[in-house]
């Protein structure tokens, strides 16, 4: 189960040039890249290739802390390249398995409340069925 929570679904009206978006929380892979002294490799370009693909899956610039975050959608060897114009760079091979990442089970108070109500109703239904047959 990869999608855990759908927090917000906002649909804008059907206007020209509209842009819709969905905010979700999901599993992700985060890679930190640093210079040799540990300083972050910040604001530098990177490209990510999915397994056996030649068209980039994602590209952009590293964050202030030198990190890259992406959400792999297939198993296999992902390739990430990051390089700066002054000659620093790295090519990273990362093997991802979709089944290896399990989401933690999280329950909201509403989940627990509904579960409790369900149990009570099931017990009541069983009790009612039992006594209705007995009275006949």
């Amino acid at each position: 189960m990869r999608r855990l929570l759908l927090l917000t679904l906002l649909g804008m009206g059907l206007y020209a040039h509209e842009v819709r978006y969905v905010v979700s929380e999901t599993n992700a892979t985060q890679i930190f890249i640093t210079y040799g002294d540990g300083a972050p490799f910040d604001y530098e370009p990177y490209t990510i290739y999915a397994p056996d693909q030649t068209v980039p899956f994602q590209s952009g610039y590293t964050a202030k802390d030198g990190s890259i975050v992406f959400v792999p959608n297939s198993s296999g060897v992902w390739r990430i390249t990051a390089a700066s114009e002054d000659g620093h760079g790295a090519t990273i091979s990362y093997t991802h398995s979709l089944s290896s990442v399990q989401a933690p089970q999280t329950h909201t108070r509403l989940d627990r409340l509904l579960l409790g109500v369900g149990i009570v109703l099931a017990l009541f239904g069983t009790w009612a069925l039992f006594f209705s047959r007995k009275s006949k």
Partner: protein, 207 residues
């Protein structure tokens, strides 16, 4: 409620590496990546000077040297939100930082009593006498004076910083070409730049 599962990887970068290579045509200066899997970029060298230290003098011609040396500039750079770019704050007034970089490299062949001026990463023992797995003591000097608190890397990984005498002990971990690089950062004398960074490399072969 935290529901992101993040797989963390922390990876160091490869940088351009200066080397003095022994070839059938004599010693040759190389500057680039030695790891084939690393993206390659061409960074021009400028203001190149060479040095040859023998037992009795220091010249510029690379022939039968005890210590082969080279120094060159690798440019002026700025950090922007769209990556590192060539130039200074004059061309990039919104730059996050600006610096100039240079390289100094020495290839050690034989002991010598002469210490060249400028930057020097000096082995305090004869490198070839140190067994694999033992530590070598290096001393970082500028015009003969020690430089303290300077990070020193072995095989592109920082192993520590120099002490008050400019010294650092580093364990030899493999045979073959040994690369030690100190990175000295100081304020730039160029107004449109924040700092000047010099990599000082000591290289030698070990059986």
């Amino acid at each position: 409620m935290p529901v992101w599962i993040l797989l963390f990887f922390a990876l160091p970068l490869m940088a351009h590496e200066a080397s003095i290579l022994a070839t059938p045509n004599g010693m040759q200066l190389s500057y680039g990546h030695t790891v084939s899997s690393t993206p390659n970029h061409d960074t021009p060298m400028s203001n190149l000077s060479t040095l040859c230290v023998t037992d009795y003098n220091i010249t510029t011609s690379w022939q039968a040297c005890h210590l082969y040396g080279a120094a060159f500039d690798t440019g002026q750079w700025v950090k922007t939100l769209q990556g590192t770019r060539k130039g200074t704050r004059i061309e990039h007034p919104q730059a996050l930082s600006a610096w100039e970089s240079s390289e100094v490299i020495y290839r050690y062949e034989k002991p010598t009593s002469k210490v060249p001026k400028g930057y020097m990463l000096l082995p305090l023992q004869a490198p070839h006498s140190i067994a694999m797995g033992e530590r070598i003591t290096l001393q970082l000097l500028y015009d003969g004076k020690p430089l303290a608190n300077v990070p020193v890397a072995y095989d592109d990984q920082t192993r520590g910083i120099t002490d008050a005498q400019g010294r650092i002990n580093i364990r030899l971990r493999h045979a073959g070409t040994q690369h030690f690089t100190a990175t000295h950062t100081r304020p730039s004398t160029t107004p449109a730049l924040d700092k000047a960074i010099t990599n000082i490399t000591l290289q030698f072969e070990h059986d």
